[in-house]
Point group: C2
């Protein structure tokens, strides 16, 4: 277990500094979008710009770390929102996280588009992000199919990829027209995931209560 | 009617030349993606590069015209594919049009991302494209809801926006990982649009035949 204890001394200090820089970049982009300058980020932490590059050698390294954090924060936000209607609540929370943080959403869309070029530094990051997310959501959907919350008449992976596509696509629509109520559209989509009536699949807790045991 | 006759003389020649350039740009980008140079496009038509700018003042003007054509060609392709299962056939054809023309798909994703910036020259083009498409697909879905092909338990506009989001989102997933079978995922999605059994909505031609009259 000794390997897992928190780093101490200069090593700890270095991890803390990296975290400060990442947090500052996250906030700067949240406020100003991609236009946020490295100088602004360095100023927020009180370091020089060359010090930044010690932790994040290129601007892309820093931007991808910010996107990684966005994923983590967004997921935590979605999970925290799950109450009586887990699928709906978390989908709606995801869209809300998008619309509440337009600077971060814009960064995501821009880098994701650039990353489709195999020579882009972000290419591998996004390829892994998508395959990881697809696997994770597929597993979640399989679980929901077993409990009867989600229709089992379609392959879980297809439903998972559709769900991810809806989130990405609605994000784009919203950025082109912020008057679109993408939370409401996402709600419609989650209802399309429910087992069709008469499919003999409705055994889930979201449906009529089954006698215990 | 005289106003609608085809232009003649120098005016006609100018329209033809514009069309040649647009077609050459479409093909060059289809082959080489965004890396296609203006010089290459000019060479294909046999004009000088300055002559290009007479018809398309900026590179963006030309690229947006190519995207507009991609929409037209893609839609024609989707409509032509409609046979017994109109929704499924056209959705699958749309994804196929994407995967058959990666250079054009990449251009679309990149410009669409850049256009989320209100100061981008493509901003208005995309805003209008999305609102126009949303209106068009909504109308189509309303029709399908009336004939019972599409579920009427959700607002047509939500279903339309979901459909557009799925197409955009799957396109992105495919560009990050070309092994994903997005045509199959799109098929799953179209089945989610079907009226749930027992909704009392199944009166469409896709279902049991109704007595004529």
């Amino acid at each position: 277990m000794t390997n897992q204890r928190k780093p101490r001394g200069p090593y700890r200090k270095s991890a803390e500094r990296r975290e400060q820089i990442l947090q500052a970049a996250y906030e700067a982009i949240d406020e100003h979008g991609e236009r946020a300058s490295l100088q602004d980020i360095a100023d927020r932490v009180g370091v020089t710009q060359p010090a930044l590059t010690y932790y994040f050698p290129t601007r892309d390294d820093l931007l991808l770390a910010v996107l990684e954090r966005r994923d983590v924060v967004g997921k935590a936000f979605a999970v925290a929102a799950e109450e009586e209607r887990p699928m709906i609540d978390s989908m709606v929370a995801s869209t809300r996280h998008t619309t509440d943080h337009p600077g971060l959403a814009k960064l995501y869309v821009t880098l994701s588009a650039a990353a489709t070029d195999p020579e882009s530094p972000a290419h591998r990051y996004f390829a892994e992000r998508y395959s990881g997310l697809a696997a994770e959501v597929t597993e979640y959907i399989q679980e929901q199919q077993r409990t009867g919350e989600v229709r089992a008449d379609e392959p879980a992976e297809h439903l998972a990829r559709t769900l991810l596509a809806v989130l990405d696509g609605l994000q784009i629509q919203w950025m082109h027209d912020p008057t679109v109520d993408i939370a409401a559209v996402a709600e419609t989509f989650t209802r399309m995931l429910v087992p069709p009536a008469g499919s003999g699949q409705q055994t889930g807790s979201g449906q009529a209560a089954e006698p215990a045991g």
